[in-house]
């Protein structure tokens, strides 16, 4: 059933959107938040368990100190106040994937409170997102519904529970209501999420792979007629797990709510779900005052005491933050905003930086990763990182070019060899005996042959029209099996047409 939607531009003209994001980031600690169970993605179901992560009678939680340090790192990166005393609280509700039937989270005393994150939009505008808190909690297990259509619980005949994920540490970053975004709300949400991803990766505290569920967000939205009005009733779209999904959720919710309000209707306070296949949000459970998690301080865990000294120690080890790093590299590599954005969009910043560190020029590294290799990755449907080629390989090829040992064409063939698993660039070059033909006699003969085969082109060249030069060079390359240096060929051609 299609819902009535208002055109996006019109919706943003009539209403002021206020949104909020609750982002769950799965930490990449070796063990769970409250027990020493080992964590590994994709393990056999129910193999990463201890009595604690199964909630067996008598078991007790003990906080993983690494997870707390990760939370402090994130708090520092988000300019949060890191509370000297924080406390775990029980969030009570019954659900099959929750071994204790309560989640251990933080309530009125979170580890991190009150921060902000400056996010940079595509046009260079910087928007400050206010952060309410970033607290520590443990994840639930995973239900799999069997027998129904597309894994949904409706129509399933039974469900399976895997508790491997139960107890994996999460940090939930909660923004304050984000006001003043106007029609750029989806763009800001997307930029914010990418900025969080970049930060947690830079901090080394999460793999932040949305497709593996390392990062997911609940998207809250309400509309009001004017920025002076109180907040409207909000909807909460749960567990959106792609950047595009988050942007589209906000767009959709703005259009949906605007249509309802414009008709004089009321927004239901409810949880919704983003459906990737239909590109819509669907209504779920109606939220009401009956949702009562009966939070209270977890008596099994003593309060966390985080000293100023400990915070200072962690602060001293903080890496450069992504935005500062981007600005620095942009200047070092002499890039325009647009060029930098292309690199970021391709997820190639780390790879290019490493390639430069391995000896390549920034321009050379950029050319490979954004050109040939991006095309290869797209064709195979993998990320650049997943290609079987390393920044060192690329730097080596660049060096061979700089040393005059390969031309562009041979370099591409060498990279193709690396991608095909033939070994390092040196090994590929040796295997195929790639080398630039420096024998001008051979090139000369090939040029002559090309001239004979293309008299019309020769006429144009002689007449000063240099556009068809490629035809001659291509023919020469073909004749020399790509081993001629294009610059040398051009020089010979120019000499001949002038004579």
């Amino acid at each position: 059933m299609a819902e009535k939607l208002m055109k996006y531009a019109e919706a943003c003209k009539q209403f002021d959107p206020v949104f909020g994001l609750e982002t769950h980031v799965e930490l990449c600690t070796n063990t769970k938040l409250f027990c020493p169970a080992h964590i590994e993605f994709g393990g056999e179901p129910n193999t990463q368990l201890t009595p604690v992560s199964l909630g067996l009678p008598g078991s007790l939680p003990v906080v993983n100190k690494t997870a707390v340090d990760y939370a402090i790192k994130l708090g520092l990166a988000l300019h949060c106040e890191i509370n000297e005393w924080s406390q775990f609280a029980r969030k009570n509700y019954f659900y099959p994937d929750m071994p204790r039937d309560y989640q251990i989270s933080q309530y009125d005393k979170p580890t991190n409170g009150n921060g902000y994150l400056d996010v940079e939009l595509d046009d260079g505008t910087v928007f400050r997102v206010p952060i309410e808190r970033a607290h520590i909690e443990d994840d639930a297990g995973k239900n799999t519904h069997v027998g129904g259509a597309d894994g949904r619980i409706e129509g399933a005949d039974h469900s399976l529970v895997d508790y491997n994920r139960a107890g994996v540490p999460l940090i939930e970053i909660v923004t304050k209501p984000i006001e003043g975004a106007g029609d750029r709300a989806p763009e800001i949400a997307g930029a914010y999420m990418r900025a969080i991803r970049d930060i947690v990766r830079a901090l080394g505290i999460s793999h932040a792979r949305m497709e593996q569920g390392n990062m997911r967000a609940d998207v809250n939205l309400s509309l009001r007629r004017s920025p002076n009005d109180p907040y409207g009733t909000r909807s909460e779209t749960k567990n959106v797990n792609s950047f595009r999904g988050i942007e589209k959720t906000l767009q959709y919710e703005i259009r949906r709510q605007a249509a309802i309000l414009a008709d004089g209707g009321e927004i239901l306070q409810e949880t919704r779900h983003w459906d990737e296949s239909t590109q819509t949000t669907a209504g779920g459970r109606v939220k009401s005052d009956a949702d009562d998690y009966r939070y209270f301080p977890d008596p099994d865990l003593v309060m966390l005491h985080i000293t100023k000294e400990h915070i200072a120690e962690i602060e001293a080890q903080m890496p450069e933050m992504p935005r500062e790093r981007r600005n620095r590299l942009k200047a070092e590599w002499n890039l325009t905003d647009l060029q930098m954005r292309d690199i970021l969009n391709a997820d190639a910043l780390d790879l290019i930086e490493e390639t430069v560190k391995a000896g390549a020029t920034a321009a050379g590294a950029r050319k490979w990763w954004l050109g040939e290799l991006s095309r290869e990755a797209n064709a195979k449907g993998v990320s650049l990182e997943e290609l079987p080629v390393t920044p060192a390989d690329v730097a080596q090829v660049e060096k061979l070019i700089a040393d005059g040992k390969l031309n562009d064409k041979l370099a591409k063939q060498t990279i193709a060899g690396v991608l095909a698993g033939e070994g390092t660039p040196d090994e590929v070059v040796a295997k195929h005996n790639y080398k630039i033909v420096e024998d001008t006699g051979a090139i000369d003969a090939a040029v002559e042959a090309a001239f004979e085969a293309n008299p019309d082109v020769v006429e144009k060249l002689k007449g000063g029209n240099m556009k068809p030069m490629g035809v001659i060079i291509g023919a020469v390359m073909k004749a020399t099996r790509g081993q001629a240096d294009a610059k040398a060929v051009t020089k010979i051609v120019m000499a001949k047409i002038k004579s």
């Binding site: 067996l56 029980r90 209270f296």
Partner: protein, 512 residues
């Protein structure tokens, strides 16, 4: 099977005396285990202290101990080789653990509680699992889902609760020692009603890892024995830091054995003893008060300076306890939902076969009335809009009680009171009146709320011939402070009674 005079004499020894016989080579651990298994077999039809007897396991452990070299045995604690019974609230690897609830029927834990690991390391065989009120909720052991435990002093009467099984087992000579758990008096009140010694250590002094949680901020594992020294020996074995329990105290056990041995010299000169004004008088049986006053007089005779101290907020302790405890119960018992272990009851035909319905039917069938009552109370107390008025206020009272103790311990070294307002009552007497039942713990609850150590020892028999208990309370992490006067009083009472009160216990199951 009839019990031989030798066996009867052996099991009537204290744990320390049994240990001494092992050391002297007069008896083996296996013989001790066999003697107690024989008594269990003879006594259980009338006492019903055990939910599960683990004779094979105990014999295996005894043999393993007996096979050790003299050199290896010498490295073990004094009680090595002496058997022990375990309240079924503590998980034992490979031995069914139920908390006396139908909802855990058949559950065999895959791990040992820290205290069980320590007992095993100490070479102490485990005789079995003792009965209790379901999930330790009750003061008479009548709320067990399986059986009613009888008081060896009068089998028409309750042994107290929740640890009635452990207390009765030790009182009936079925075991020389037992472990209990004490949330509001579950070790001390049964101790008082059965004439045994029961200790609730300082909160955090003994690891709770593997103790099935009732109310986490109040629960504490502790010893049950027939003598003060035995409890001291046992507490030093089970105590100490455990990194698997966040609330565990970093420091090791206190010198309790030394304090108990010192106390046996019956010299209490310089010890300041405080009588808690609020724990006595109205509601306390005259027979209980009489024995208590005599005991206090004996403490004075041994040189203690006795003064009255006031703890003005103690009258609010019971009320605060019945908010905090059920609140934690409501959350701690949520996990018994039929998903992973224990009972599972599917909804009947016609009711949607959903996980939520399965959980509801399982919990309805698996929990008894008292447990349900507390889950409901706690759920209500934690609800939005009520939290501040109930849970919040109760926590404030708790702070006031902690302050009462601090002020009292500024003036005196140790506090005393009767342990329980009455001697053992008859079955069914308080089952229909939860408030009357709750009043049993009026004197024991303050120590749990404040986390301070407390113990009950026998103060003689009341006019009705039933045991009376006196409670000693010490400052936090100073458990040894209560052991000294307790041991002194024990020795003085033995003299004035012409022997231990055990001489008055009729034990037909021992063939006497």
């Amino acid at each position: 099977m009839s019990i031989s005079t030798e066996t009867a004499a052996l099991v009537k020894l204290s744990a320390a005396e049994q240990a001494a016989k092992i050391k002297a080579g007069e008896v083996t651990s296996r013989e001790l285990v066999e003697a107690h298994l024989a008594v269990i077999e003879a006594a259980e039809p009338s006492i019903k202290a055990f939910l599960k007897v683990s004779g094979d396991v105990a014999l295996e452990q005894a043999d393993a101990f007996d096979a050790k070299s003299a050199e290896d045995k010498a490295k073990l604690p004094e009680l090595a080789g002496v058997p022990i019974a375990i309240k079924d609230m503590i998980v034992t690897k490979g031995i069914e653990t139920t908390a006396a609830s139908k909802i855990l029927e058949g559950w065999v834990p895959p791990y040992d509680a820290t205290v069980i690991e320590k007992l095993k390391a100490a070479g102490m065989p485990i005789l079995g699992k003792t009965n209790l009120d379901e999930f330790a909720q009750g003061s008479s052991t009548e709320h067990s889902a399986y059986q009613t435990t009888h008081n060896p002093w009068d089998t028409e009467r309750v042994p107290g609760g929740s640890g009635g099984g452990s207390a009765s087992a030790v009182a009936a000579f079925e075991a020389p020692l037992a472990l209990g758990t004490d949330t509001g008096g579950s070790i001390r009140q049964p101790g008082s009603l059965t004439g045994t010694v029961g200790v609730k250590p300082t909160y955090g002094g003994v690891s709770r890892f593997g103790a099935i949680a009732m109310a986490s901020s109040l629960d504490q594992i502790g010893p049950v024995s027939r003598t003060v020294l035995d409890s001291a020996l046992l507490q030093e074995i089970i105590g100490g830091h455990d990194e698997r329990d966040s609330t565990s105290i970093p420091e090791g056990p206190r010198p309790m054995v030394a304090a108990a041995r010192e106390g046996a010299k019956r010299d209490l000169k310089g010890l300041k003893v405080g009588l808690v004004k609020e724990l006595g008088g109205e509601g306390f049986q005259p027979g209980v008060e009489a024995r208590f006053n005599e005991a206090v007089a004996q403490l004075k005779d041994m040189g203690a300076e006795v003064t009255e101290v006031s703890c003005p907020h103690f009258p609010y302790a019971l009320g605060a306890y019945y908010i905090i405890m059920p609140s934690e119960v409501s959350s701690n018992l949520a996990r018994y939902d039929g998903m992973r272990y224990g009972l599972r009851v599917m909804p009947p035909a016609g009711v949607p076969q959903t996980a939520a319905n399965m959980m509801a039917y399982t919990r309805e069938a698996g929990f008894g009335d008292e447990v349900k009552r507390r889950i409901i109370l706690g759920t209500y107390a934690l609800s939005a809009g009520y939290y501040d008025a109930w849970y919040g206020s109760a926590q404030k009272v708790r702070t006031l009680i902690i302050n009462d103790f601090k002020a009292a311990f500024d003036k005196v070294d140790v506090l005393v009171s009767p342990t329980s307002p009455s001697t053992a009552f008859k079955f069914g007497e308080k089952m229909d009146d939860p408030l009357a039942m709750y009043m049993n713990d009026i004197a024991t609850i303050p120590a749990n709320l404040a986390g301070v150590p407390a113990m009950s020892i026998p103060a003689g028999l009341s006019d009705d011939g039933l045991p009376v208990g006196i409670q000693f309370i010490a400052p936090q992490q100073r458990d040894e402070v209560m052991y000294k006067p307790a041991a002194a009083l024990e020795a003085a009472l033995e003299e004035s009674w012409g022997g231990p009160i055990w001489n008055d216990l009729k034990t037909p199951w021992l063939g006497e």
